[in-house]
């Protein structure tokens, strides 16, 4: 139980999740068109939504990643992070079940989906949910500012 609430472990996971989100967001931001192709290939969204997701999602990912790493608005960031991971996991899971081989669009845009990607995203979702339950405030700018004021 103490490990579950251990702020050092939680902070480490928070920073790890943040770094992963930044790492995932940057290639998509640099090449939104390729990301749009990945989104389109999932066959889960209508054409207009493909454009919206490809244009906007990587920026939200980057923002959440930065906030998680530096530790600002941790609870809200973790909530969004968990929500996004749940959606990503479901999308990959459904397409893996359908047997459709598409580019994952997860980190690099040339990686295929599959059970490994489902397991990986499920693990990240669990870690994010853990952080949502026991908000990791240690090593955060928010905590630093609060102390000074």
């Amino acid at each position: 139980m103490s490990l579950l609430r251990n702020q050092y472990v939680l902070a480490l996971i928070r920073i790890l999740l943040g770094a992963l989100f930044i790492y995932a967001a940057v290639p998509k931001m640099l090449d939104p068109y390729t990301f749009a192709v990945a989104v389109y290939n999932y066959k889960m969204l209508p054409g207009f939504a493909v454009g919206l997701v490809a244009a906007a999602l990587p920026w939200l990912e980057l923002l959440i990643g930065i906030l998680l790493v530096v530790g600002v608005r941790v609870q809200a960031s973790t909530l969004i992070c968990t929500g996004m991971l749940v959606v990503f996991t479901l999308a990959i899971f459904i397409n893996t079940l359908r047997g459709i081989d598409v580019d994952c669009g997860c980190f690099s845009t040339d990686r295929s989906i599959g059970w490994a990607a489902v397991a990986e995203d499920s693990l990240l979702t669990l870690l994010s949910f853990w952080c949502l339950l026991f908000v990791p405030n240690r090593f955060s700018l928010e905590r630093l500012f609060r102390r000074r004021t």
């Binding site: 068109y33 990912e61 598409v102």
Partner: protein, 180 residues
């Protein structure tokens, strides 16, 4: 745990604000992509990009198969499927080109010979992925054959857009002659 009362309201407000800022920035920066998504040109552009500006087909738009049934794939996925035996590769090029060399395991089916294979393909498509390729990203045969198969309710159809040129350049397994 998520806080209750006023803190919960604050959390909801912060979450909404972060979403607005993140998504809003993305939409502002990439508004051209969002607009293209709305006017339908994005999906078309995606198809064209994947096919590297495939030649415009003579068919009227009403006869073009729905885009959702064609799935484009890269060489890694194509190689993986070729190795796995979970797929049927169709070489849509002319028989002469097929005999000169084709992807290991591929059969040669063109628009002219499709009728001879249609029932066999219906059966195959139930248990395997159907992947069509032609010489490269600019050739139209793969897409045209894919549309014909979709019209016959064989779907989804995968198109390996890199095609023969990319496959042989990478030194992946090929076969010469009529045999698969």
């Amino acid at each position: 745990m998520v806080s209750k009362g006023p803190q919960l309201y604050r959390l909801i407000l912060e979450t909404a604000l972060l979403c607005i800022v993140g998504l809003g920035t993305g939409l502002a920066v990439n508004r051209h992509i969002a607009v293209q998504g709305f006017d339908g040109s994005l999906v078309e552009a995606i198809k064209q990009t994947l096919q590297n500006k495939i030649k415009e087909k003579a068919r009227p738009a009403s006869e073009v198969a729905p885009a959702g049934d064609i799935i484009f794939m890269g060489v890694e996925q194509a190689k993986e499927l070729c190795d796995s035996n979970r797929s049927l590769f169709i070489d849509a090029r002319a028989p002469e080109a097929y005999e000169a060399g084709h992807i290991y395991g591929a059969v040669n089916i063109t628009e002219q010979t499709i009728e001879d294979h249609i029932f066999e393909l219906m059966d195959k498509a139930r248990e395997s992925k159907v992947i069509i390729y032609c010489s490269g990203p600019e050739c139209p045969q793969a897409i045209e054959l894919a549309e014909l198969l979709i019209e016959n309710d064989i779907k989804p159809i995968h198109v390996y857009s890199g095609g023969w040129d990319q496959w042989q350049k990478l030194g992946y397994p090929v076969v010469k002659g009529r045999g698969r």
